[in-house]
Symmetry: C2
Subunit: 182 residues, 2 copies
DNA sequence: GGGTACATGTAACTCGTTACATGATTCC
DNA sequence: GGAATCATGTAACGAGTTACATGTACCC
C-alpha cells in the first residue's frame, strides 16, 4: 500500500521540507495519533521518491557548511498524491491490540490480576484522553474554518479523543462485569 | 515484543491444536477484531516455539496417511504465557489509520470528494457494527459467567462494537463540520 | 565549553503479507 | 469425479524498530 509514501507526499504538498522536518511532523501531537515513522524509514523513502520522479530537492547550507536537502513535490508527485487521496479505499484491517488479546485470555488469570491490569490501562488511557482534550482546548478556541489545514488537525484530534473515550468506556465495562462475580 | 508467540501460547493453553486450527482461530469472529496472522507466519513460529522448549507436538494420522501435528504447551510454555499475561505493559502505540490520514489532508480535496469518502467509510463501519451486534445478539442470550472463555469472547466483541460506534460518531461529526461551510 | 537541537544516513533485525508449492480427506 | 476443506510448508517482499554512526549550529 505504501502509505508512508503518501504521508510524505501529503506533507510536502503543503510546502518544501527536509527529512528532519518530516520526522518532526510525524511526532506532532495531531499526526502522532494515527501515523508515525522513524527517520530511518523517512530518509530512504525520500531517496526512493526522488528516484521515482515524485520529488526533487535543493541543497541548502545553514551556517558555515551544514547541508540540508529541501524536498518538494514534482508535478507527477502532486498528481500521484491527489489520486491516492480521493481513492475510495476499503477500511483498514482492524488494528492489533495486545490488551484486548490479554482480555480474550482473561480466564487464565486470577480476578485480582486482571483487575490490576485494567486499572493500569484506565490510568494510561485517561491520561491520554486528558492530554488530548488539553491540546484541543488550548489550541482551538473555536472550530477552525473549512479549507484551513488547522481543521484537519482539529478533526483528527477529535477522533483521537473519541477513540480514547470509547476505550475507557469499554475498560470500565470489563471491570464492572468481572467485579460482578460472587 | 513477540506478541504472536503469546497469542499462540494462549490458544494452546486451552488445549492441543494443530497449526491449521490456530490459523482458523485467528479468523474467528472474536479474535479477528484485534489479532490475526496468516498460516505462513504461524507454522514457522510453531517450529520456533518447539525449538525453544515452550511447545511439543504429537503426530496424528487422519484417514490413510494425512499427517497433522498436534501441538501442546510444555510446563515452561505455560509459565511463559502466564508471566506475559499478567505483565503490566504500556498501552500500544496508537494504531495507524489511513482514513484519518486522508482526513488530516482533507484540505487538498474538494468538499464533494471528501464527503464521498466519508459516506463510503460510514457504510463500511455501519456494516461492521451491525455484523458485530448480530453476532453478540445471536451468540449470547445473556452475559456469560465469569471464569468461562465465552466471557472473553463477549468482552472483546463488546469492545469491537464500541470501537465501531465511536468511529461512526467521529465520521458523522466530520461530515457535519465539513457540511456546515457555506 | 557544553548541552540541545539540527541534520542525514546505514545496518540488523523483527514482523507481516502475498504468492508459490504440494498433497490428503470428505462430502456431494 | 470435482469442489471445498484439511493440512503443512517456503520464498520474496514490504514495513517498521532499534541501534550504529557522524557531524554542525545555536544558545547559555
Amino acid at each position: 500500500m505504501r502509505t508512508l509514501k503518501y504521508a510524505i507526499l501529503g506533507l510536502l504538498n503543503r510546502g518544501p521540507m527536509t527529512g528532519y522536518d518530516i520526522k518532526k511532523a510525524f511526532d506532532d501531537r495531531a499526526l502522532y495519533n494515527f501515523w508515525h515513522a522513524e527517520h530511518s524509514q523517512v530518509y530512504p523513502e525520500l531517496a526512493k521518491l526522488v528516484k521515482e520522479g515524485l520529488l526533487d530537492y535543493e541543497t541548502v547550507i545553514t551556517g558555515e557548511k551544514l547541508e540540508k536537502k529541501l524536498y518538494r513535490l514534482t508535478e507527477k508527485g502532486a498528481k500521484d498524491f491527489h489520486d491516492w487521496l480521493i481513492f475510495d479505499a476499503e477500511v483498514d484491517r482492524t488494528p492489533k491490540d495486545t490488551f484486548r488479546l490479554r482480555t480474550y485470555f482473561y480466564d487464565s488469570m486470577d480476578k485480582e490480576e486482571y483487575l490490576e491490569l485494567i486499572q493500569s490501562q484506565l490510568v494510561q488511557h485517561k491520561e491520554r484522553r486528558d492530554y488530548l482534550r488539553e491540546i484541543v482546548f488550548s489550541a482551538f478556541k473555536t472550530i477552525p474554518d473549512v479549507g484551513t489545514p488547522e481543521l484537519g488537525d482539529y478533526l483528527v484530534l477529535d477522533g483521537a479523543i473519541k477513540r480514547e473515550v470509547a476505550y475507557i468506556d469499554w475498560l470500565n465495562n470489563c471491570k464492572e462485569i468481572i467485579n460482578m462475580s460472587e
